[in-house]
Symmetry: C2
Subunit: 462 residues, 2 copies
């Protein structure tokens, strides 16, 4: 079974392609034709063309290189279609239909037939009961969802048990201007599950972090071991702290109720965990765009005390360590800003000022500091210390996370410049703190011999 | 002392107005001239005009109706300026300078002199050590901060101990398209503190909810009793769970470290509390734009299971009660959607569909339900069920909170239509859940005799 056929196909067949707008077979076809390779609409009862492509009666009749079939047909027909895919040498398929394992005994039987067909035909099968996947850089929109072709290419792969949540995250990525390398809704995980997806995206050159949405799986250990094995950083959003078992089971047929076990497992296997979809995206973005942190010690530099206090409070609650700065750094900071408001850690400059970037640079260079979190409300006429940070980020090779506030119309362009330097940016103080907390978790959970907790003030959460 | 002079002045004096761009006296003047009333630059060592207004040598020389002085002068001069304000009959002042109570014994002495001058002159004094306040609807930008004149008018009053955090929230409000009725950074609270501000905005026709950022105050009981006394809903973001005492004290001279006492106090005095600035804004928006909930019972309707499960998990963790729907409602839902995925509570329609609004309407009409939370990813060609919701929101007079996902360019216009109906909208599933959790807290903490917890499934957190 080759997951590459699924996620990196040469051509696409849309089985059940339809001329009726609003139908899954129409929407999937409309998305598919954005792909740069050949796309074949398959429907035995249709003729002529759709979106300029001629209908084919069966996948076995396609004369061309097709690796991926999007199955837009009702559940009972799906196993036969997958059998045909196997015969046609199509190695990847997405099954959108529900009515399988999540839908009682009859559905379970149908899913068994489906898995058997996929296995016999050597088909990597995403779903059933999924809204598909996207690879924006390849213009590969293997889904019936609408308005997806503006989701930009990025370097975070979203692998979600729920297609709905996958889209919720991908649209947040679009609205934040960060994008995704891929977005996958696993659905019932007939034969492509977390392990297969994580391994594939670990080997994907476009992907620098993998973020997971997990409701539950019958092979938790396999998932965890895969997370530990891969080189790419993984973050997990583990849902199901409360009793939502009935609802979740009706969803993807997965049993939840093992929330604590998963939380402990992720901690043990090196995976930071988060509490919301926004945090998941932010943590993935921070891990994908920053150098990996060598340790859990955070230096905070703020131009406004109030947000700095809120950030510090939240970081400490998440178990971050804010060590004292070295005397050398303190001397530099005091020289730049005599009588500075609060020159320990956090460093509070009181207001944005031309020297703000130099203060950040001094803290970033401090040997006690592994991760830098900066907060600065935008001030017109002054802007962000982009040039100073450009030099320091190359020099120190530590994560520098930048949180700010201001009107989007004014700040977005300058924030994009920081992001281009490998400095993840966030527009609420606590979002910056949460992203750094994920980096701290990553450092603690993947601690090498050099990852000591620095300084006087020590706190350890896991 | 009249806080109205401060927050609703007839005219403004900018004391220390400067012609040098970047100086506080320049930025404050630039903001002040946006005001619809008269604005006077005051500076004994300047002459001519600035922004078309003629310099005056002292506030006592102003020939016009001025109620508010923006003091852009260094700390040591401030008490004399306030004395002059008293003589000139100026009843409100903002003091931007730091170097008072937060800055050691000398500063404390200076602050005492300042308070005495304000008291003798009957001046309502915001600050010192504040970045001021805004009332966007009046084009009243009493601040030196830049890029503030695009913050739109709304109906949430932001009252923050920290000016920096106040701006962080106001800019989020701008970027979310919700706006604020006012934004106030209290700073050192010389004689205008939480109580005075909350009481003022309780009587303000533009304000439908008041959101607080609290680092600590020496009169916690006064704050809490004010919150209970006022009619307008209040929400609090109480910072300082962890030990950030030194840093906070250097900020506004306030002692933190009483986090748990405040949390308990807010619970007892009817004030929902939140954990981030984003949650604070969202909770304030939900309370300002919805009918007040009669009870804590939440009905969830989702078009996608994954986000619905995440929402349910988060609501339950926050202590929300999701009762069973009445049999009547269940019958209606099953008639609309036979064999619906999950027709208890949450109701999961599996996909957006034309009947989605009818399902929401049925749940909203259910007597077991006090608050409705809807999640629906945007689907092109279908849109949101705006017309159906317009009718039901008028009929049921219950909060209906709408969370969604999609590209902003596509969804923002339709979300604004929902907001205009009094349906607060949020673009991440958990943000919808958090806003509803604040409504649940509000209902529980202000429970009248009718606010019983409905149905079988009961959980109580406070």
């Amino acid at each position: 079974m080759s997951v590459t056929d699924l996620f990196d196909p040469r051509g696409i067949a849309v089985v059940g392609a339809s001329e009726t707008s609003g139908k899954i077979g129409y929407e999937a076809m409309q998305n598919a034709v954005e792909f740069d390779g050949p796309v074949y609409p398959v429907n035995p009862s249709a003729s002529g063309t759709i979106f300029g492509r001629e209908f084919v009666s069966s996948v076995t009749e396609i004369d061309g290189e097709v690796d991926l079939a999007l199955c837009c047909v009702p559940a009972p027909i799906v196993p036969d279609v997958i059998e045909d895919c196997g015969k046609a040498g199509i190695g990847g398929a997405v099954v959108f239909a529900g009515g399988f394992g999540e839908a009682g005994p009859d559905g379970e039987e149908l899913e068994e037939r489906l898995i058997e067909a996929a296995s016999e035909g050597d088909v990597a099968l995403l779903g059933p009961n999924t809204s598909g996947f996207l690879v924006p850089e390849e213009h590969l929109f293997a889904t019936f969802a609408t308005d997806v072709d503006t989701i930009p290419a990025g370097n975070v792969a979203v692998v979600a048990q729920s297609g709905g949540l996958a889209y919720a995250i991908a649209f947040q990525a679009e609205n934040e201007g960060v994008g995704v390398s891929a977005m996958v809704g696993l659905g019932n995980r007939a034969n492509v599950g977390f392990e297969e997806a994580i391994e594939y995206f670990d080997g994907d050159a476009k992907t620098d972090s993998i973020v997971l949405h997990v409701e539950g799986t019958d092979d938790g250990r396999g998932l965890l071991e895969t997370c530990r094995r891969v080189e790419t950083p993984v973050v997990a959003y583990n849902v199901g702290e409360q009793d939502v078992g009935d609802f979740a089971e009706s969803h993807t047929g997965a049993l939840t109720g093992e929330y604590e076990l998963y939380e402990a497992g992720f901690a043990q296997y090196g995976v930071p965990t988060v509490r919301t979809s926004t945090e998941l995206l932010d943590a993935g973005t921070a891990l994908a765009s920053s150098p990996r942190p060598d340790g859990p010690n955070v230096g905070v530099v703020t131009a406004q005390a109030g947000p700095g206090i809120a950030i510090t409070d939240r970081l400490k609650a998440a178990g971050a360590n804010l060590p004292s700065l070295t005397e050398e750094t303190q001397d530099i900071v005091e020289e730049i800003l005599p009588g500075i408001t609060f020159s320990a850690n956090p460093v509070d400059t009181g207001r944005p000022m031309p020297e703000f970037g130099d203060v950040v640079a001094a803290v970033a260079r401090d040997d006690n500091i592994d991760i830098v979190l900066v907060y600065e409300l935008y001030e017109g006429g002054l802007g962000y210390p982009t040039d100073t940070l450009a030099a320091v980020v190359d020099e120190v090779q530590k994560p520098i996370v930048f949180a700010s506030g201001g009107p989007e119309a004014v700040i977005n362009e300058e924030l994009a410049e920081l992001e281009a330097l490998g400095i993840p940016t966030f527009t609420a103080p606590e979002r910056g703190a949460d992203a750094v907390s994920a980096l701290v978790q990553y450092a603690k959970r993947n601690a090498g011999p050099d990852a000591a907790v620095a300084g006087e003030e020590v706190s350890v959460d896991d």
